[in-house]
């Protein structure tokens, strides 16, 4: 009997951890500069999916304006072409105390903004952006967006460093 309990005690967390690892985890990491607080919030993607399932249908969709709808096919085609194109810097803006750079590296679109001591880095997998854009119709699905984060596994998708030393990062594992 004790043996069965031991097996259960080991197997259940192992299976749970395996399932979470298989479906992915989003980790939000916040470091406060003033009081040295460090907060780490891991959110299993499967859990976010389940939570999304309980949100009313009408709240789960973001309706696109008509002008935006007609450019959805263009956006999809451009992203698909970009995915196949060579790597390189697509946009660079330099002004006094401010820099913006958008680079394509492999499947990633890397956006970097340095503004008066504040640094923002965003990495968006092109495959993620493609899977979020609606095939047809005029609605984005939030649950689809959550599921699309599967495309961003092992990627730090957002990193923000404030002027006061505060740092926030969101990584998908």
């Amino acid at each position: 009997m004790l043996k069965m309990i031991l097996i259960g005690a080991v197997a259940v967390p192992t299976i749970a951890a395996g399932s979470v690892a298989a479906t992915g985890v989003v980790v939000v990491d916040v470091r406060e500069a003033r009081n040295g607080q460090h907060i780490v919030v891991p959110v299993p993607l499967a859990l976010a999916q389940v939570a999304a399932a309980f949100v009313p249908e009408e709240k789960m969709h973001m309706r696109l304006p008509r002008e935006a709808q007609q450019y959805m096919p263009v956006a999809k085609q451009v992203l698909a072409a970009l995915a196949e194109a060579e790597d390189g810097e697509l946009v660079r803006v330099e002004e006094h105390n401010e820099k913006v750079s958008i680079r394509k590296e492999g499947d990633l679109l890397k956006i970097q903004v340095d503004d008066n001591g504040e640094h923002v880095k965003v990495q968006v997998p092109i495959s993620l952006a493609l899977s979020v854009l609606p095939e047809s119709g005029n609605q984005f699905s939030a649950s689809q967006a959550v599921w699309a984060l599967q495309h961003a596994r092992l990627t730090e998708i957002v990193n923000v460093q404030g002027r006061d030393g505060e740092q926030v990062s969101v990584t998908v594992y």
Binding site: Y71, Q77, V78, A81, E86, G88, L90, R92, V93, H96
Partner: protein, 189 residues
């Protein structure tokens, strides 16, 4: 972030989206990149946009029907002078037959405008007397030919794009008191 600078860069990119092109079969052209540089010296501002031709091509192919219909754009009559695309097409065919020539030179107090053909390139040069402001546009003859291959009041943009993406080098250079704009195509990113 200056709206004007970004707007100018965006506009330039969109203009190029309308001038670079298709021709999927031409393998070498697939590696071409369109570059736009906008620099404003007095604001210490530099904007550069680099787009693979294949990306611009994809945007054109998926452009909404009300912007581009089957690769053709309908212009109709232009302004009160009733200058139509078909009139321009006739004029172009006449001009093309003359070979290298200076087609128009307009000199007034404010600026000098020169439209000429040199080899297989159409040149449009605009210069201000101060020498500080100038516009240089160089369009290959084949591109203009392809644009006018449409019917009636339509310009065949897609054919024009296919020709333009074969070009390597400067297409537009604009210089004024405090800013420069350069648009060119090459095979580097």
């Amino acid at each position: 972030m200056r709206v004007r600078t970004l707007g100018l860069a965006g506009l330039s990119a969109l203009m190029l989206a309308g001038t670079v092109g298709t021709a999927r079969a031409q393998a070498p052209a697939r590696k071409a990149w369109v570059h736009v540089r906008v620099e404003e010296a007095n604001r210490q501002s530099k904007v550069s946009v680099n787009l693979p031709v294949s990306v611009v091509e994809a945007a054109l192919q998926a452009a909404p029907e009300d912007i581009l219909s089957h690769g053709h754009i309908h212009l109709g009559k232009m302004g009160k002078r009733d200058l139509s695309v078909s009139d321009l097409r006739k004029a172009w065919n006449e001009m093309k037959a003359t070979g290298d020539a200076e087609f128009a030179t307009v000199e007034d107090e404010d600026e000098t405008v020169r439209v000429a053909r040199a080899g297989n390139v159409m040149l449009v040069h605009v210069d201000k007397p101060s020498g500080k402001e100038s516009v240089r546009v160089e369009i290959p003859i084949e591109v203009v030919d392809a644009l006018f291959s449409g019917q009636g009041e339509e310009l065949n943009l897609r054919a024009g794009f296919a020709e333009l993406q074969k070009r390597r080098g400067d297409i537009v250079r604009v210089k004024d008191n405090d800013s420069t704009v350069r648009i060119w195509i090459d095979e580097g990113n």
